[in-house]
Symmetry: C2
Amino acid sequence: MLFFTQCFGAVLDLIHLRFQHYKAKRVFSAAGQLVCVVNPTHSLKYAPTRCAAAQTSTEQSILPPCHHHEAVHDPQLVPCTCPLFSCPWEGHLEVVVSHLRQTHRINILQGAEIVFLATDMHLPAPTDWIIMHSCLGHQFLLVLRKQEKYEGHPQFFATMMLIGTPTQADNFTYRLELNRNQRRLKWEATPRSVLECVDSVISDGDCLVLNTSLAQLFSDNGSLAIGIAITTSKVHNAEDEM
Amino acid sequence: MLFFTQCFGAVLDLIHLRFQHYKAKRVFSAAGQLVCVVNPTHSLKYAPTRCAAAQTSTEQSILPPCHHHEAVHDPQLVPCTCPLFSCPWEGHLEVVVSHLRQTHRINILQGAEIVFLATDMHLPAPTDWIIMHSCLGHQFLLVLRKQEKYEGHPQFFATMMLIGTPTQADNFTYRLELNRNQRRLKWEATPRSVLECVDSVISDGDCLVLNTSLAQLFSDNGSLAIGIAITTSKVHNAEDEM
């Protein structure tokens, strides 16, 4: 009996997922925007001091599986590029995109404006929704995280990071937009570099922050659609690169 | 000695307030916008069930000092129009503006776009910053509230309400904008009517919500500047008024 109940539940889930994808495509295709349905990544293992540990490199147990290194003073080495909670990976900026694609199967989307449709917003914290966005000759990482900064009160944090240096990041502005039921919420900022670590951006609260109640107001049937746009914030200064 | 210390503190406070006003005027006058410095109203008495109590009218101790009435079924009677925590006033829509001006000395500003400069954001919750905004032939109430929805974690809630009926409110859209340090946060929504009670709007979280960290990012020297704009959201339907 239990077996049949579970099978039936799994089939219902599949139908629900299919329906959501179809509905999102139907709604947003009219606006000519590319929609990407992003499924959550839930992790039971949460290490809030991961960044600090990686930066000081006192814990020799955290060794990068992809790029073995002795010195963490290398400025191009990314201590916690992979924003997934349970991944202790470290590596150079150039291989971050391939790590995210190959190890975590994170999609990469092209286009000036895309819609990020995060499903299953009701899942318990900590949960991440992640996508890569290729735009203006660079790759960006959008991270939506459900986290309990205060016990029992989960919040949603959304930020965009450049897979590049902080100097390169200063050339861009990203915009996240929620729009539903005659309500609109827009957040515009300069993206941070993945070298700065996504955990610290979220703990500083320097990103789009949503309470559960606000997230529910903007959600449709458990999915949250976030419009993303990236622009260049200033004339590209060739000297910055030198 | 204590007397002199306190006097010196008071003089410093006055100089600080004067300086803030001057600085705000200097910064925003360049943009041609009217700036209003809004001081906080702190109340020790907080009654979260005030709206419900007034609506059911079971508590006969809450009697309106301005308009004495027997029946609360009158749809034009506003149960908790006065958004100040400690005020149990009730009355008809027509006299709300004069009550707020006369009893609470709340300023009323004219203009399509104004800047609301809330001072002393560090004060403990519950604290309100309130202003009236006269625009497009109607009066609106902007309420910024610091409140601890979850104990020990104060948040800021900002909403705009029409001093009018819900049908009238549907004709407008309000926008609140924070802009500082290459970050911008915009909230757009249809204003609620004061008949709907500001407390319930805030407890529903259907407004601009700021964590303390985000409020600090947008604050300058303890003051938060909020740009306010009101537009008509649809062609005025004469039938709505009938």
